[in-house]
């Protein structure tokens, strides 16, 4: 019989090992799934995880895809630590793109160097505004932020669709549902020549460092760590739950909004009905893969970015449906959560009586 025996302390080794273990198990299961789909599992895994990054352009694309994931996940992780479950980052991303991108469209013949910084601010504000709604509803009306933030994601996506089909449609765009292209002053500068790696990637690194400092050095970071580990103790010393809800939702929303702005003013360059392949949802997995720590999230973001690239490549070369990416991501999160048990418990084989106790 298998039993779980609580550890006195969380195992530090397991904190680092369990994500690695989860990734390995996902690869094994992935190989089995590929075999079921009639593909050679080794070929398929190679196509999925090695081929996308065996050249420098591939590696640069990895950073392009990891950028929004890392930025969003750092914000979400702060909330998850405090039991604030913002799962509407996809909607906040969309609102950030609408606010920031809207500015670029309004000033579509601008050449001002002030346009880009203003778009940053509006993008973050748009995301924070969209996250403020669940924060308000949770703190004032006790409404569950999981459901409200998710419902608002659908609303934001529909609103973007309305804008690009209607008032913001490109007047010279042959009736395609997309906005004008942003002016050059509203496009993020490329930081590596010959790639699509843009300024947002540098911001992502900055967000990781800032998040790390916030968590380890600031008072609110200390509170976040305590609330997550010992909610009752936190309540006794009087940490205000409402403040935590506001802080984590506004921060997460602002970062998601920024990530959305980076997508439309970076790789996309205009507003379209669809601006994200679910980065806001994948970032949830990234946050867990990174163990809710900004530095871990940096690695987690790169790994999840690889699943996007691998999925695209597998679609082209192996004819696998794109959904394989989502399936992999879900399985990885399952294994992560399952392996987490190892940090808190030891697995013991054999019955209790084996330890000398008689039943």
């Amino acid at each position: 019989m298998v039993r779980l025996e609580p550890r006195r302390q969380h195992s530090q080794a397991m904190v680092y090992l369990s994500p690695v273990l989860a990734i390995l198990m996902t690869l094994v299961v992935g190989g089995i799934i590929f075999a079921f789909l009639g593909k050679n599992p080794f070929d398929a895994l190679y196509t999925f995880f090695i081929l996308p990054i065996n050249n420098s352009y591939g590696i640069s694309e990895l950073f392009v895809k990891a950028t929004p994931l890392v930025i969003i996940a750092v914000g979400l992780a702060m909330g998850f630590r405090a039991n604030v479950w913002n799962i509407g980052a996809e909607g906040q991303l969309t609102m950030g793109a609408i606010f920031g991108g809207g500015l670029a469209l309004y000033f579509h013949d601008s050449e001002s160097i002030l346009l880009m910084p203003a778009m940053f601010v509006l993008g973050a504000l748009g995301g924070a505004f969209w996250a403020a709604i669940p924060a308000l509803l949770r703190t004032k009306f006790n409404a569950n932020e999981i459901l409200t933030s998710l419902m608002l994601t659908y609303v934001a996506t529909l609103f973007l669709s309305f804008l690009v089909h209607g008032p913001w449609r490109n007047p010279e765009g042959f009736n395609f549902p997309e906005s004008r292209p942003f002016p050059d002053a509203g496009l993020l500068p490329i930081i590596f020549e010959g790639s699509r790696v843009h300024l947002g990637t540098a911001v992502a690194v900055f967000v990781v460092i800032a998040g790390w400092l916030l968590l380890s050095k600031s008072v609110i970071g200390f509170q976040l760590r305590v609330v997550g580990k010992a909610p009752q103790a936190a309540r006794h010393v009087g940490f205000r739950q409402k403040r935590m809800v506001w802080f984590t939702l506004l921060l997460g929303g602002a970062l998601a909004g920024l990530a959305g702005l980076f997508e439309v003013s970076g790789p996309i360059g205009q507003l379209q009905p669809s601006i994200s392949p679910g980065y806001g949802f994948t970032a949830i997995i990234v946050a867990f893969l990174g163990r809710l720590h900004p530095v871990g999230i940096l690695f987690g973001g790169i790994i999840m970015a690889l699943t996007y690239l691998g999925g695209e490549l597998a679609q082209i070369t192996l004819g696998l449906p794109n959904a394989v990416t989502g399936l992999f991501q879900g399985i990885l999160l399952f294994f992560l959560l399952a392996c987490d048990v190892l940090t808190k418990y030891r697995i013991r084989f054999g019955a209790i009586a084996a330890k000398g106790r008689t039943a």
Binding site: L4, F80, W85, I87, L137, K140, F141, N142, A143, N144, I146, L147, T148, L150, M151, L152, Y154, V155, L158, F159, S161, F162, H165, G166, F281, I284, I285, F288, P321, N322, A323, V324, T325, G326, L327, F328, Q329, G330, I331, L333, F334, L337, A338, D340, V341, K344, Y345, I352
Partner: protein
């Protein structure tokens, strides 16, 4: 007024998947388990039902497959949260992400397939009565089943001994354990029932509401079902009212265009989601009512002291 009968018929078909999934989740939550994976389980049920129906030509086999598929993937959730004590919120999200990916992968081979929608059970003579006939006696059997299940669940929770045990487990798992009930086993069963019903709700979408398969065809209905359970303050009777209200809203949105109301379609499509938010706010702000009716141990892991 000849539009009224088809209108009511569409409301019923739009409400049934919500009612099925929400009834299952209500039982799961009553046992103290919060499974946020309803959307994923519905999608898996939808594709299982559709794939089997399209391959075998038998809707009955399809429905059975959907129930089995929903139950099976709810077992993943149960194993992670109940046996391994993983966080229920995170695991539920994982279940939804997994369900979206899995159903899309299996479904990629079934896009564009056509099947016969579930037949209406017509009773000769009675179903021909104007207005009342087609509405009350001309539905497919899953509609009747959804009502029967709600009545059954209401009876189970209020009157049966097993229902009392289930509620005890959800309200105070340590006491229930001390009396000798197997908390984990009961929660496994409640979670599986939730999975089966979500699978059935998904199958209703792909076999009857829109007889086809499309990626993400649940479009947030699993999440709306979760909100309905809160709306109903965990009482089955109010679940019926809630599900039919949402069915009405989602159908109104489709009919408004035809009725000459010129609001951009995207704003009409927002209605069910906005209504969910508003309804949640109204119900949740009555904290006393929530505390009175919500299972006290919801979302908490249970580990028997050894």
């Amino acid at each position: 007024m000849e539009w009224i009968v088809p209108f009511i018929l569409t409301v019923i078909t739009a409400s049934t998947p919500l009612l099925l999934a929400a009834t299952g989740e209500l039982v799961t939550e009553k046992s103290g388990v919060l499974n946020l994976g309803v959307e994923g389980m519905m999608l898996v049920g939808a594709i299982a039902g559709f794939a089997v129906t399209a391959s075998t030509g038998s809707a009955i086999l399809g429905i059975l497959a959907a129930v089995a598929a929903g139950t099976l993937i709810s077992l993943i959730f149960a194993f992670l949260t109940l046996t391994l004590m993983a966080n229920q919120v995170a695991t539920g999200l994982a279940l939804t992400i997994f369900g979206v990916g899995f159903s899309a992968l299996v479904g990629s081979g079934f896009v564009g397939f056509a099947i016969e929608p579930l037949p209406a059970l017509a009773i000769p003579g009675i179903s021909a009565i104007p207005i009342v006939g087609p509405i009350l006696f001309g539905q497919d059997f899953l509609v009747y089943l959804s009502i029967a299940v709600v009545i059954g669940v209401a009876w189970f929770l209020a009157k049966s001994r097993a229902g009392l045990v289930l509620k005890a487990v959800g309200d105070s798992h340590h006491s229930a354990h001390a009396i000798g009930y197997s908390v984990i086993k009961i929660r496994y069963l409640a979670t599986m029932f939730g999975g089966a019903m979500a699978g059935l709700g998904g199958a209703y979408l792909s076999l009857s509401y829109t007889p086809m398969w499309a990626e993400n065809m649940t479009a947030g209905r699993g999440w709306i079902a979760l909100a309905l359970v809160v709306f109903a303050t965990w009482r089955p009777g109010r679940l019926v009212a809630g599900a039919y209200m949402f069915g009405l809203i989602s159908v109104m949105q489709l009919h408004a265009q035809g009725a000459g109301i010129h609001v951009p379609s995207q704003f009409m499509s927002m209605l069910p989601y906005l209504a969910t938010v508003i309804v949640l706010v109204i119900i949740s702000s009555d904290r006393a009512k929530i505390r009175l009716n919500a299972p006290a141990c919801i979302g908490q892991a249970f580990r028997a002291a050894q």
